[in-house]
């Protein structure tokens, strides 16, 4: 029993697909897809996420009810054919508001992920390639950032800077830039550590040494040889960062400190709904379920990608 525990449940079946797969077309992408397909929950999550994203992207064309049409006659109504997700305390249609809010939530999540990944990769690559004090200094900085209390700091920065940015970029743009950069700036550390760890082992590998012997510059070694091999864990971390950024943005909006009140992000809808829980529970349940579904499916996809991109995993 002891020696028979494998890194993955399907390890014993490895001999078979190899034999069957001979003569078939083969590419890294195909192989990745074959591995990803094994993770059934990840595939199901991919479908759910695709449906939600499609609904958010094409939704406004199909459901062209304005998000701010006030109708006091239809106040706090439950789901019906006229308002599939019901209405809020001003009689505004919740489906339209959620489609609009979903665009913002997903945009914030993806943009913050890009900031975190780019910053983390750059710092991690510099720390991984330097052989002197710079590497340890950067890692000390990463450790310092890891021990910062993130939400209090996020709230502090937003409190101090939001008014200026509002003047510079308008009420929506200012808050968007601020939230994206602060969330990104507080999430680069795990990526930097992952990238550095990969770089430390990859830079001593034979193929890098060969490139060096052929006269490749440090930049070329990094960009062409080391970085592509270090990307697997970064992609996984990036997926999970999208989920974390969506939660962070919703948390800020839920605390009433995110986007301005007239912009219905999912967190903001929940914040408005929480005082009407007893008479209009649907108002809170739909946006909450939307956040939950998106975050859950992103997390499952991340788990599936981890299986897919881990070369040590026998599948």
């Amino acid at each position: 029993m002891v020696g028979s525990i494998h890194a993955s449940p399907t390890a014993e079946a490895q001999a078979q697909p190899v034999a069957r797969g001979r003569g078939r077309r083969y590419s890294p992408a195909l192989e990745a897809w074959r591995r990803f397909r094994r993770h059934r929950l990840a595939v199901a999550s991919g479908v759910i996420l695709a449906v939600i994203v499609a609904a958010i992207v094409v939704g406004p064309q199909l459901w062209n009810v304005p998000i701010n049409e006030i109708d006091f006659a239809a106040r706090l109504e439950g789901p019906s054919w006229r308002h599939p997700f019901g209405t809020d305390d001003l009689g505004q249609d919740l489906l339209a508001r959620m489609i609009y809010g979903g665009r913002i939530s997903l945009a914030v999540g993806i943009a913050a992920m890009v900031v975190a990944i780019v910053a983390g990769t750059v710092v991690g690559a510099i720390a991984g390639m330097s052989r002197g004090w710079l590497g340890s200094a950067l890692m000390w900085l990463a450790d310092l950032f890891l021990s910062l209390p993130q939400l209090p700091l996020l709230l502090l920065v937003i409190y101090l800077f939001r008014d200026t940015l509002k003047v510079l970029f308008g009420p929506e743009g200012g808050v968007f830039i601020l939230i994206v950069f602060v969330i990104g700036a507080l999430r680069w550390m795990p990526v930097a550590r992952l990238v550095r760890a990969q770089f430390l082992s990859l830079r001593e590998k034979e193929f890098v040494e060969a490139a060096r012997a052929l006269g490749a510059s440090t930049t070329r070694q990094v960009v062409r040889h080391i970085l592509p091999n270090a990307l697997g864990p970064v992609i996984v971390a990036g997926t999970i960062d999208v989920a974390a950024a969506i939660i962070a943005e919703s948390t800020l909006s839920f605390l009433g400190l995110g986007f301005p009140p007239d912009i219905p992000t999912w967190g903001r809808i929940l914040y408005d709904a929480k005082d009407y829980l007893d008479i209009a529970p649907h108002w809170a349940l739909f946006p909450g379920a939307a956040i939950f579904l998106v975050v859950l499916s992103i997390n499952f996809i991340g788990d599936g990608l981890r299986d897919t991109l881990d070369p040590r995993r026998v599948m």
């Binding site: 002891v2 525990i5 021990s147 209090p152 829980l277 788990d303």
Partner: protein
């Protein structure tokens, strides 16, 4: 061991200093005057304002201001709340015990759930139990705390009417009843925070146990004829929990984030809700002090984890 302790303490000091630099940099970089309250108040004449600025040294170089701010913070002189009209340290000390009580109980609940579930799942990897536990763990840490909080209020306070959804620190009751009321009102916030933490902790415990369970000494223990129960509890779990201690400490920043949200939902009078209300009321001294307290707590818990780690794991070198 004493040497190790001193070393850890010395390592904690630069990180506290680093955190204070980050906090002060944020404050110093902030546009506008953090003490605008005085400047915009029409009852304060310009001459008094200039005198105040000189008195508080607002126009001094950044380095001088940083050193002054840091020494003031270290001496416990945290300023005066604009809104509550009292010293910030008194205000925070009033609120801190509630927060620590909620966070502590939540952490206990998280550990009480995560260790048995994680160990049992790892002892039977890829069994039905393991898969269900894994899926539930994913659900648990994908459910944001603000949504679970609202769901629990909806079910237990609105529909079933079992539990109160507003946390009160002044309960008019004595003896057992007082304790009972406290437990009742703390139940939902602690459950929200504890299950959220427990979900991710379960996955850590599971992978830590899986790492240990394949080692040779476990095979030896089985070969000696020890029962599976003894092997798991006495041999595997003891070693597997060492990395988990560090992970519990590393998660502290996330727990404080969750605590701010739960305190806001259930209206718990802790420092998290104090932070939010001060932000809404532009009460800068309180905001800075609460953030600093959160940062100190994180460093303190990291230090405790390091010390525990040294105590639990004899393989660590005390140098």
């Amino acid at each position: 061991m004493a040497h190790y302790l001193v070393r850890r303490l010395l390592i904690a000091i630069p990180s506290l200093l680093g955190i204070s630099v980050v906090l002060f940099a944020v404050l110093a970089l902030a546009p506008g005057d953090p003490f605008e309250e005085l400047a915009t108040n029409p009852n304060v004449p310009p001459a008094v304002r200039v005198a105040l600025r000189v008195k508080f040294g607002l126009d001094d170089p950044v380095m001088v201001r940083y050193v002054r701010w840091l020494t003031a913070m270290l001496q416990g002189d945290w300023g005066f709340s604009f809104v509550s009209r009292m010293n910030v340290d008194t205000l925070i000390l009033q609120r801190l015990p509630t927060t620590l009580f909620v966070i502590g109980s939540a952490q206990v609940l998280a550990i009480a759930v995560a260790i048995p579930v994680g160990v049992y799942a790892a002892a039977r990897p890829y069994s039905v139990f393991d898969q269900i536990a894994n899926t539930l763990a994913f659900v648990g840490f994908s459910l944001p705390t603000f949504f679970t909080g609202l769901l629990l209020i909806l079910v237990f306070s609105v529909y079933l009417d079992w539990l109160p959804f507003v946390y009160r620190s002044d309960i008019a009751a004595t003896g057992w009843r007082w304790y009972w009321e406290h437990v009742r009102q703390a139940l939902m916030p602690v459950a929200v925070l504890g299950l959220f933490q427990g979900a991710s902790l379960t996955r850590y415990v599971r992978s830590a146990v899986l790492d240990v369970i394949r080692l040779d000494y476990v095979t030896t223990a089985r070969a000696k004829g020890l029962g599976e129960r003894v092997v798991i509890v006495k041999h595997v779990v003891r070693n597997a929990l060492i990395p988990v201690v560090t992970l519990v400490a590393l998660q502290m920043p996330a727990i404080f984030g969750g605590a701010i949200v739960t305190e806001q939902i259930f209206r718990i009078p802790g420092i998290g809700s104090l932070l939010i209300s001060s932000i809404l009321a532009n009460d800068t001294p309180v905001i800075m002090a609460v953030t600093f307290v959160f940062a100190c707590l994180v460093v303190l818990f990291n230090l405790m984890a390091d010390i525990l780690y040294g105590w639990l794991d004899p393989r660590i070198t005390y140098r």
